[in-house]
């Protein structure tokens, strides 16, 4: 299963434009490129490298390790969100509540820390609460047959409303543990450094990859996305898995919320509006099919990096206003959706 995972990364280099290759290699690459499973991921990887190179050519100081590492530093919470979202979308569902849950966990953290709670209690509490919210959403979807869209929409309203109930204004965090976690830089040699959040995000990604590709649960997730009825007939635990993916998404949103507070050191009820769209966009750009069944966690990570690198370029450009980001993301989404459509249509 592991070498299947690494496969999309390997043909990256020969797939570059204008490289002459043997016929067999060419056929393999064509097969990979046109497969609905690997095609979009490879395109995303190529796109990421291309955008990064273009940025490096255009702007001085862009082509450095730290710019790349900053992509991870700035987007660690989004990576965690995208991981949770990948699980949900792989089963053919969707989770609109993640942005609001990020804001809610930030608010809970900020307000509890302000009243003197210990971070060692607050963080697990947040993770448990958001997982329970995910569980409720999952039960609503599975037991009561409410559409994922509506159930998670209700959860979004609930979480956002609770944010306002906690406080209407921004609460800053002065807890020493949070501050030190926010300011610690882990040196990677030279001037390169990352934050603890990046390590947490990468650990989450590693666990998710292992769960999806090496456990029965992961295979059931893929099976549900490919066809729920078939999964049921095969005797797979469809009910449990369908509920669990929302628990995972809830947990990831809570964790992302904690990472986000490390990043901003405050809780604000209006924060992270529209983050669910970024997470969904990252997953789609990362090559996960929205109808479920196809996709990789590593693809979603690539998707987040593509979104991040676009944002970085807009910052470097200076003259482009920040709302161009949204237009670019929209355009990218369009390209990738049509690409998915073409690839899956050709296979049929």
């Amino acid at each position: 299963m592991t070498n299947l995972l690494e496969a999309p990364q390997q043909p990256k280099l020969p797939a570059g434009p204008g490289t002459p290759s043997t016929r067999r290699l060419g056929a393999t690459i064509r097969n990979l490129m046109t497969s609905p499973k690997y095609g979009p991921v490879i395109v995303t990887a190529v796109l990421f490298i291309a955008v990064f190179v273009i940025g490096g050519v255009r702007y001085r100081g862009f082509f450095s390790g730290q710019v790349f590492l900053n992509l991870l530093v700035d987007n660690s919470y989004l990576i965690v969100l995208a991981v949770g979202m990948t699980f949900v979308i792989l089963t053919g569902g969707i989770d609109l509540s993640v942005g609001a849950v990020v804001a809610l966990s930030g608010m809970i953290a900020a307000s509890l820390l302000q009243t003197g709670w210990s971070p060692s209690v607050v963080i697990p509490l947040i993770l448990v609460l958001t997982s329970v919210l995910g569980l409720l959403v999952g039960l609503m979807i599975h037991v009561f047959k409410v559409q994922p869209f509506i159930a998670t929409l209700a959860a979004m309203f609930l979480a956002r409303g609770l944010c306002y109930m906690v406080s209407q204004s921004s609460i800053s965090i002065t807890d020493p543990v949070f501050v030190s976690l926010a300011q610690t830089r882990i040196p990677l040699g030279g001037i390169l450094s990352i934050t603890p959040s990046v390590i947490i995000a990468l650990v989450v990604v590693a666990i998710a990859v292992w769960v999806l590709h090496a456990t029965r649960f992961g295979r059931t997730v893929y099976a549900i996305g490919a066809g729920e009825q078939s999964g049921l007939l095969m005797g797979l635990p469809v009910a449990r898995t369908k509920v669990l993916v929302y628990v995972i998404s809830g947990f990831c949103s809570g964790l992302a919320g904690v990472l986000f507070t490390f990043y901003t050191l405050s809780g604000y009820p209006l924060t992270a509006i529209g983050t669910e769209l970024d997470a969904i966009a990252a997953v789609v750009i990362g090559g996960t099919l929205l109808t479920g069944g196809y996709g990789f966690v590593l693809g979603s990570v690539l998707g987040v990096l593509v979104l991040g690198v676009i944002q970085t370029i807009i910052t470097f450009e200076g003259t482009l206003s920040s709302w161009w980001t949204r237009i670019f993301i929209g355009a990218l989404l369009l390209v990738f959706i049509i690409l998915q459509k073409v690839l899956t249509a050709r296979r049929r």
Partner: protein, 348 residues
């Protein structure tokens, strides 16, 4: 008697209407003058009128959304279309030398509507011709749309001083708010055109099975086009009303979350997100439930910030009550009651 009762309970508008009546009762207890409508300066005034007026934009969008959902689609882009139409109208009015003249406003409104029609056709093109899932096709415009609106307003909040334009949002005609009249006209047109002709049936048939309806001679592709264009048209009307009401185009906040409210109104009204069946009257009730809920929160004296929590509660309640699982459980319960009653009769 009990048969009649059972039929009333089984009606799909039963729970939404009950919800509306409960909300009215709460309002009446909290504020005894809730139902009184007075005439002041020749205009109708009262809580009910306020509910109708503030609920008009949501209702107008929900009408378009109902038809989209009936085809088993969804339109997430309506909020962004609202923002774009408001931004276009305001920038035209601001750019003209005579912002107060009726012709300027007429041009601004017409151009805004035409642009919205183009956006709607774009959605229709993606769904009907390219064959993208509706939720994703419209997600593209939802993401990029606010960026485009920002581009039009150049990131500013455009404030206009134009009496004819303001009239659109807060004017009265024969004592009735203009917004309510517009909503009533849109509702009447939609109801007449889809229910007095075969169009509504065609829309439902596309929602049940696009391929089968195509083979039966229904032009599914053209219908989808029309439905998405109509939805954007409705969104533009609502956007113009919202913008005119505040006399300012705010690309970030005009119509924020209105797509969610509209979808909720449709779902509360008993139209299934799975398509194939719709009720415009249900949507009307749904929109009223949402707006009354917001008003209730104000009249009862709950801090307005808690509105979202209540919305979540209502959505959850209505969804759970309408769920097939609940219906099954209720039916089982009623049968057991009937059996017990039957036994009682036999024993005596």
């Amino acid at each position: 008697m009990s048969a009649l009762f059972a039929r009333v309970v089984a009606h799909r508008l039963f729970w939404p209407v009950v919800m509306l009546l409960v909300l009215f009762t709460i309002n009446l207890i909290a504020f005894p003058g809730f139902f009184t409508v007075t005439i002041r300066d020749g205009h109708l005034f009262g809580s009910l009128i306020d509910i109708l007026r503030n609920g008009a934009p949501t209702l107008i969008i929900a009408i378009g959304m109902t038809l989209v959902i009936a085809t088993r689609g969804i339109d997430l882009s309506v909020g962004a279309v609202c923002a774009i139409s408001g931004a276009v109208a305001c920038s035209i009015i601001l750019g003209s030398p005579t912002p107060g003249s009726l012709s300027t406003v007429a041009v601004a409104v017409t151009v805004a509507m035409l642009i919205a029609l183009v956006l709607g056709m774009w959605n229709g093109f993606l769904v009907a011709v390219v064959g993208v899932q509706p939720i994703i096709a419209t997600l593209i415009l939802m993401t990029a749309g606010r960026g485009i609106a920002m581009l039009i307003t150049e990131g500013q909040i455009l404030t206009v001083n134009s009496p004819p334009f303001k009239f659109l949002g807060s004017g009265f005609w024969f004592g009735i708010p203009i917004a309510v009249i517009i909503a009533a006209v849109v509702f009447a047109v939609a109801a007449l055109v889809t229910r007095r002709t075969a169009l509504g049936m065609f829309i439902e048939s596309v929602g049940i099975n696009p391929e089968a309806s195509r083979q039966a001679g229904v032009r599914a592709r053209g219908l989808l086009f029309v439905v998405y264009t109509f939805s954007a048209f409705c969104a533009a009307i609502a956007g113009l009303i919202l913008t005119a009401n505040t006399a300012a185009a705010d690309a970030n906040n005009t119509g924020l979350f209105i797509e969610l409210d509209a979808i909720l109104a449709v779902v509360i009204g008993g139209t299934s997100l799975a398509g194939g069946r719709y009720s415009l009257v249900g949507t009307l009730v749904g929109a009223l439930v949402i707006q009354t809920l917001v008003t209730t929160v104000y009249t009862v004296g709950i801090p307005p910030i808690a509105t979202m929590v209540f919305k979540a509660a209502v959505v959850t309640a209505v969804c759970l009550l309408q769920s097939p699982t609940t219906a099954e459980a209720l039916r089982g319960f009623r049968q057991r009651l009937a059996i017990r009653a039957g036994k009682g009769v036999a024993a005596s």
